[in-house]
Each structure stands twice: as structure tokens, then as C-alpha cells.
Symmetry: C2
Subunit: 367 residues, 2 copies
């Protein structure tokens, strides 16, 4: 993997990230394909809206259909027909958020599957092996991700453990083309974040992530912490903000110097009839759209906006037709990916601040 | 509308049906787009598997979102982004099969909506008006469709009423480019079918359908009745067998001289993880497909079979991912439409009987 930082505008960065399955223009948003599919969309649709890299979830895939099965069928790229870059998480976040009866020791996490109650163990070594079986282009180290309001002793212990686990992940990693990213924890406490980053940076991972944001804290608290947290990470390596967020969160994070994002928001919102637009979110189920011949967004060139009215989408959701979630997921991903493309152009042209202000003014206007 | 009978092979026919929105090569299968969408597929996907005409359901569309709303938004073609031919049914079949507390008189049918219990009336005139609002290329007359085991006095009365309603539909029809097809009822009784056909043929409709098949009778009984029933219909006009059926039913009906079909089977089966293949239906949920790297059907060139393994599809259905129903609906429609294309080529080349036998032998082989 190679990362080239092309230009900066303030702290905002435009780069090129080259992986075994292709080159990614950063800043970039990664659609989430939890169970080896971006929900409701074909890979052609995901590619068609400008996706350059997607995320797969280690926790879900190891439970079902199993990472060894995916390996035996040629890896995740072949299995799901996505020949472009893939990043996998470590499964740690889901062990903390989804699994039942988890027990965490320095050795690893023992938990029961949320699907069938099976008892399973996730150690740093196991997280690496699963991701190597999946064959992703970028794997993540196993970390412990406490909630935002965790007491400071819990947070300290999580950082200690995450650093230890990162070492073990690096030592166990042997995939020839997969790059492994480390994760900096520490919540909203900059000192803890710095302590964690200072321990991880000498290990020389090819990329660094910020974990433990969007885990219950106020968005404003995250916004305030991001510039200092991003600045802790090496400037010559890609910086990934995990699990964030709304369009405004992305632009603030880009301004802070973040390069990569993932979030279920565009697809999950799409399935729930919420569309992102330049003038704020639109609830397509709202009765005012029943006879509206306008597209979701008039200057969007996605397949949904070029071909369908709000009235049609309103009807699809009303009638519980699958095509409704499909078309709005498509639009929302197109929206997120265009936002990142436009942000990148603005950075290259030295007008990022202006671009961000204009977007924020539009979102604040409300239809 | 213009119908050109190009060639025959025994009773089997190859033709060209030209409508306001394009020309259809017959015999043809029409995917069902009940609620202004072929479930789970974009119009591009439906077109991509070779669909030339789709069916819309008058009963569903008049209840939701309403035929006047669709008219005001440019008609059904524009509303659902399908610029190719559309046939609409009359809504009669659903009044008999779906609606609650229906009361039928010679004037029309009064029924309660299955969605909200609203009381509604469907008369021949109303059925015509709704379909004219939808703007379909082919509309159907309102008919009464008794179950297969209806006593002969019920069947006789249904025929009397259907003939009377056909007259009223024709008198009320005023759409400049929509063709109106009549429907012959009579169940498995050829004398009743003949009586109905003899009354409808002098009315000179541009096309004739056989209704009242696949309504509970044994498939063999339908197969036995079809040659005589098809022969009752004018040979210079398109012949449409409504709501039928399995691949083997289609080939038997083509052999009897039918030109057009519709059925929910390929899409409904696809949503339920059943795939049609040359060696019979395949249940993708079956555990034997869990690790199977083969496509659903090895010599199928559809998007599903070119790109995905049975193992992947098995996983999608197991994980309840929308993409499973989408991909299998796509394959099944591709299968049905290829069957019709191949049947047509066989007719043109005078080897239809051989083609039919070969298909039947494959389906009988079972994987």
C-alpha cells in the first residue's frame, strides 16, 4: 500500500491511496457492506455512484457465512463481486455493541453470537486471521472501544489493552498485500488520545484510525476534539475516522485532516425513506411528497434523481416495495460520494473553507 | 396497435405486436409490475434481461397511489420509468381474489379494499377509465372470473355477464393509442368457452385473452383444454393466456397457439429463493449450496449467473439481504424471457416440437 499526500488546504488534505485492488482518491467515504453486500444495491450500482472502496464487517462475516468459507471461495472480493478495494474492521466494535454476554480479558474477548448464542472468542490474532481469510486490502487491528461516558480508569485500561493488542496484531499479520491500520482510542480526552497515539506511531503501521467517536457523545464535542486528535496522527499516512457520520460531520473532519470515513447512515437512512440533499434531509414518507413531480434533488445526476419523482418514491415506500430502499440508498451514497469528490476538488483548488461554509449554509436552510 | 403473424409451426406462432411504446416479439412473457414496480428490480434490470412488455395491476394502482395521481404525473410509463409497452389488467381478478366483502351485480362489483376497508365500486366503465388514466398500451375488459370448480350455472352467468361487460368496456373506451383486449371465460368446458368466444369475436377487439386458467384446476386439465380453447380465438390477432404459469405450462400453451403470458411466478419464486434452471427448479436455501462455487445455471448469461456463486446467494438468503431476492428475481426473469426467445427461434426454424421435448426432458431430469 502506498499513500501520497498531494496537497493540503489548511489542515484538509487531498491524497491518493494505492491498494492491491486499486487507487482511492482521498478524502473518501466507504459504503458499508456489512454482510458481503451493500444493502439493497448491486456492486455495479455502488460502483456507479462513485464508490472506490467499501467496508466489510469481520464480526458479521465470521459468524455467517464464515471467513474460511469466503477464503475457500476466493476471498471477499470474488465472493461478493466487488473487484475494487475493501477495508475490513476488526470485529471488536460489534463484539462490544452487538454480541451478548461478552467477557474481555487481556487475552481477548469471549462472547456469545447475537445470531444463535454460540460462544466465540475474538483475540487480536484471531481478528488478523479472519481478515486475512477475507483478503481485504486494508485490515484493522483489534481494539477495545469504550462508550463515550466511560470513567477514566475504564478508558485508561482500554487504551493500555488496545496498544497491547495492536502489537500482537502487527506481530501476527502475514498477508502479502493487505495493509494493517492501527486505531487510536481515548474518547474526548486529548491527553489519553496523545498517549495512545504516541505508543502506536513507533510501531509504524501504514495507516492510523480514530476509533471511539460517534459512540454517544454530542456531535459538537466530537467536532471540538477532532482537529487536535487528527493532528496526533502521522501526516504522511492515511487517517481514518471510524463510523462517522452525517454530511456535516464529514466536512468538519475533512477540515481537521481526516482522509477516510465509513458509516451506515446513507444506506440505513435510505432504507428508512430519509434522503440527504443540499438543503437538508428530506422525509420521503411525508404526505407533502404524495403528488410531487420533482426529483429528490434537482441537481443530482444519480439514477434515482434522473428518473424518478418524489411522488413515485413516496408511493414505493407507502407500498413497501423494495425498490424504494434501493433507490434512496443509491441516492444517499451518490450524495456522500459527491460530497467527498467536491471536497477534494475544493482542497486542490485552495477553497475548502468556502466550500464547507456553503454546504453548511444549504443544510441549515431546510426546505 | 398492429399484430403481424410471421410464421407458424403446427399451432405454435411467431409474431410481431406493435404498440404505441414499441414492438414486441411474440411469443412473449410479461413480467408483473403490480404496484408500478417489478418487485426488487430497477426498470433497467427488467429491460436488461430482455423484457419487452410488462404488466401493471389496475386494482392495486387505483387503490394506491391512485390512477388519477398517476395520470397527473404523466401516466404509468413516466411514473415508473418504463418507456416500453405496458399491459394493464382490468382489476376484476383481484376484486375476486383479494378484496373483502364483494358484491357483484350486472352493474359491476362493490367491494372493500384489502388495504383499508374502504368501499369501492368497479364497473366496466370504471375499469376502462382507470386503465385510460394509467395510459397502458393494452387494456383489458372487466370480466368475472369464477374458480375452476364453480358449478355450471355460476359459470354460465359469469360468461353472460362478462360478454355484457365487454360490450360496455368497448363502448366506453376512448383512448387514442391504447388497445383493448377481450377475455374469454368458460373454465374447462369447451362448449362454454366457444359460446363466450363466439359472442366476443364479432365485437372485433384487437386481441383476445383466455382468462380463468390457473385458478385451482389441475395443470393437466389446463393443458388438455388449451389447444381447443386457443383455436377458438381469431388467428390474426394476439392471444393472451392470463396468469400462467410454470415454464412447462408456457411451452405447452405456445404449442397450442398462445402468444402472450404473464405470471408472478418468476419474481415471487425468486424472492423465495427458488431458481428456475434447465434441469428443474433449484432451492438456493438448501444446505448443499452452502459452499457451492457454481452459478445458479452454468450456461446462463444473466447478471446473477455471470457474477455470483450459489454459495453467495445461499448466504444472502440466509442473512436476509435484499440482494438475494433481487438477483434470483433477475435470473428467473432472464430464464423465462430466454425461454420465449428460444421458443420463437424454434418456431421460425420449424423445430418447435423438438425444442419443447428437449426442455421437458431437462426439467424432468432434476439435479
Amino acid at each position: 500500500m502506498r499513500f501520497e499526500l498531494l496537497t493540503t488546504d489548511g489542515a484538509a488534505r487531498a491524497g491518493l491511496l494505492t491498494t492491491a485492488h486499486g487507487t482511492i482518491e482521498t478524502p473518501i467515504f466507504m459504503p458499508v457492506g456489512t454482510q458481503a453486500t451493500v444493502k439493497g444495491l448491486t456492486p455495479e450500482m455502488v460502483r456507479g455512484v462513485g464508490a472506490q472502496i467499501i467496508l466489510g464487517n469481520t464480526y458479521h462475516l465470521t459468524l455467517r457465512p464464515g471467513d474460511e468459507l469466503i477464503r475457500d471461495l476466493g476471498g471477499l472480493h470474488a465472493f461478493m463481486n466487488w473487484p475494487h478495494p475493501i477495508l475490513t474492521d476488526s470485529g471488536g466494535f460489534q463484539v462490544f455493541s452487538l454480541a451478548q454476554k461478552r467477557k474481555i480479558t487481556d487475552h481477548g474477548a469471549i462472547f456469545k453470537s447475537h445470531l444463535d448464542g454460540r460462544e466465540l472468542e475474538l483475540t487480536p490474532e484471531k481478528a488478523v486471521e479472519i481478515q486475512q481469510n477475507l483478503g481485504s486490502d486494508i485490515g484493522m487491528v483489534l481494539d477495545e472501544c469504550p462508550p463515550a461516558d466511560a470513567p477514566s480508569d475504564v478508558m485508561r485500561n482500554a487504551i493500555r489493552r488496545s496498544i497491547h493488542w495492536a502489537e500482537r496484531c502487527k506481530a501476527h499479520h502475514s498477508h502479502p498485500t493487505q495493509a494493517q491500520f492501527a486505531i487510536v482510542q481515548g474518547g474526548l480526552n486529548i491527553d489519553l488520545r496523545a498517549e495512545c497515539a504516541e505508543a502506536l506511531i513507533p510501531m509504524d503501521f501504514p495507516g492510523y484510525a480514530l476509533g471511539g467517536f460517534s459512540v454517544g457523545e454530542a456531535p459538537e464535542a466530537m467536532h471540538a476534539a477532532l482537529p487536535a486528535c487528527a493532528a496526533l496522527l502521522p501526516s504522511n499516512k492515511p487517517r481514518y475516522l471510524m463510523g462517522v457520520g452525517r454530511p456535516q460531520d464529514l466536512l468538519i473532519a475533512v477540515a481537521a485532516g481526516i482522509d477516510m470515513f465509513d458509516c451506515v447512515m446513507p444506506t440505513r437512512s435510505g432504507r428508512n425513506a430519509l434522503a440527504f440533499t443540499d438543503t437538508g434531509p428530506v422525509k420521503i414518507r411525508n404526505a407533502k411528497h404524495k403528488r410531487d413531480p420533482a426529483p429528490v434533488m434537482s441537481d443530482c445526476d444519480c439514477q434515482c434523481c434522473r428518473n424518478y419523482s418524489r411522488a413515485y418514491l413516496h408511493h414505493l415506500f407507502n407500498a413497501e416495495e423494495m425498490l424504494g430502499p434501493t433507490l434512496l440508498s443509491l441516492h444517499n451514497l451518490a450524495y456522500y460520494l459527491r460530497l467527498m469528490r467536491e471536497a477534494r476538488s475544493a482542497i486542490v483548488e485552495g477553497r475548502y473553507g468556502e466550500y464547507q461554509l456553503r454546504c453548511e449554509a444549504g443544510w441549515a436552510s431546510v426546505e
